[in-house]
Amino acid sequence: MALIIDKIREDFPILKETIYNKPLVYLDNAATTQKPQVVLDKLIEVYTKYNANIHRGVHYLSNKATTETENARLTVQKFINAQHSHEVIFARGATEGINLVAHSFGEKFIHAGDEIIVSEMEHHSNLVPWQMVAEKRGARLVKWAFNQAGELELNELEKLISDKTRIIAVNQVSNSLGTINPVKEITALAHRHQVAVLIDGAQAVQHLKVDVQELDCDFYVFSGHKIYGPTGIGVVYGKEGWLNQMPPYQGGGEMIESVSFEKTTYNQLPFKFEAGTPNYADSIALATAIDYLTALGLDDIATYEKELLDYAEAKLLTIPGLEIVGTAKKKTSVVSFNIKGLHAYDVGTLLDKMGIAVRTGTHCTEPVMIHYGISGTVRASFAFYNTRDEIDRLHQGLLKVIELFA
């Protein structure tokens, strides 16, 4: 069933805002998404009806908050089709999730002389933690370069895998190019060589149906705020076999089984990886966001967002001197571009004055910019609540920018 966008927009109060007296056109969804009223209501509900520290309380509120949090874990499990709910770990976001895996997997499985393959199109969040682990463990980082269209090629990966390779870190969708990577095939190839795979799904879960069992990946991470949920919450999925063997990431409350002054034994999964009071309020609201998204239907979302992408690319390419950066065959609704003779910062600054929010710069993917020999791009990223009218406004806005610089 096709989405009724006018009705959907009613669910997002911020979309009614005006910026400099102009209706807001929010095209920065790859940075963060807006929140539907149900998510905002859920946060208020948690804090007004059953706010209490979870897991260890004996009283009613604590039990209620614990139940809601663990139900949220089940919602996430179902959403990504994890085999077990204890394979779902709550973290602060995708960044913390990757740091958790890099650190704990690294401590146990990465040794001097080992190799870590990281794609050239990773967000700094999926590059820097691996650089840190490589330095700490005496391992070597191996770059998997992408082609001019912004696509990763499997045959190139095959050449890079050696008997020293321990893990491959790659995104399912590139935040700066929009490329959808063949993560199922990547995982299959890696597994033929007994290499683990971490997938950064921060730009994927809000656009495509993800089934971690079908992908067969070893680790999968994503952020709550990019999937219409709250900030400060994210998810790490890891296969039970790995997680059980990996040491904890941080020490503190919740993650322990018993503590004497001399020694601590660790709690079971998933709590072993959730030190300190968990961010239960945001976990619960994240589940609400997932329910909202699932009710709309990810297939319909993908269809509609593809329409927006095609419309936007065709429309923007009519602008003289405009060049799209990232022309992969399979893309999510992200258009990165430059206009000849104009600096991305100037374009973004002027669009802002017209009430149009886009992102400019390197998008935390400096290696991608280095690859293309550019200092940055303007990026418009669409969500299911965006419309063709808004893309028209972007188009008109860009023409105005060009006029101002002429």
């Binding site: 600096h343 910062y345 940055g376 101002l404």
Partner: protein, 142 residues
């Protein structure tokens, strides 16, 4: 009134004729285009101030007890503001730069361009201008 403030008030006066953002930014773009790009010789790692959005280059020299700034940017709007900063700050005595308070950016409604979160290199540029002045001041008095 200090020379710095006289110059700032002149800029404020100049911008007071613009009542919409488009005229203001058009003027800023013109200023950016008019500012002579600094030679590639001076554009190097030493003079580069890295913002994550745009780059700024800033160089300084001392002439007859006054600090002379030259600056450039790869983005035109940033360059327009750079031109204003140079116009206001260049050719002053080091102590006037160190002790002076910059208020014209706020008053002409461009404060968002100089917010620490904007990462266009301008905040670091103002800081660097003061650092240059401080270095020359120390040198003069040592």
């Amino acid at each position: 009134m200090s020379e710095l403030n006289k110059r700032q008030d002149a800029v404020i006066e100049e911008f007071s004729v613009f009542d919409d953002w488009m005229d203001k930014y058009s003027y800023l773009i013109d200023l950016g285009k008019e500012l002579h790009p600094i030679s590639d010789k001076i554009k190097n790692e030493q003079t580069l101030i890295k913002g994550c959005q745009s780059k700024v280059w800033l160089d300084a020299k001392m002439e007859e007890g006054k600090v002379i700034f030259t600056a450039d940017s790869d983005a035109i709007i940033t360059k327009g503001i750079v031109a204003l900063l140079v116009r206001v700050m260049s050719g002053l005595k080091p102590e006037d730069i160190i002790n002076g308070e910059l208020y014209f950016i706020d008053r002409i409604g461009l404060h968002e361009n100089l917010s620490p979160t904007r990462s266009n290199g301008l905040v670091a540029m103002v800081k660097q201008m003061k650092m240059f002045a401080l270095a020359y001041h120390t040198k003069l008095n040592s």
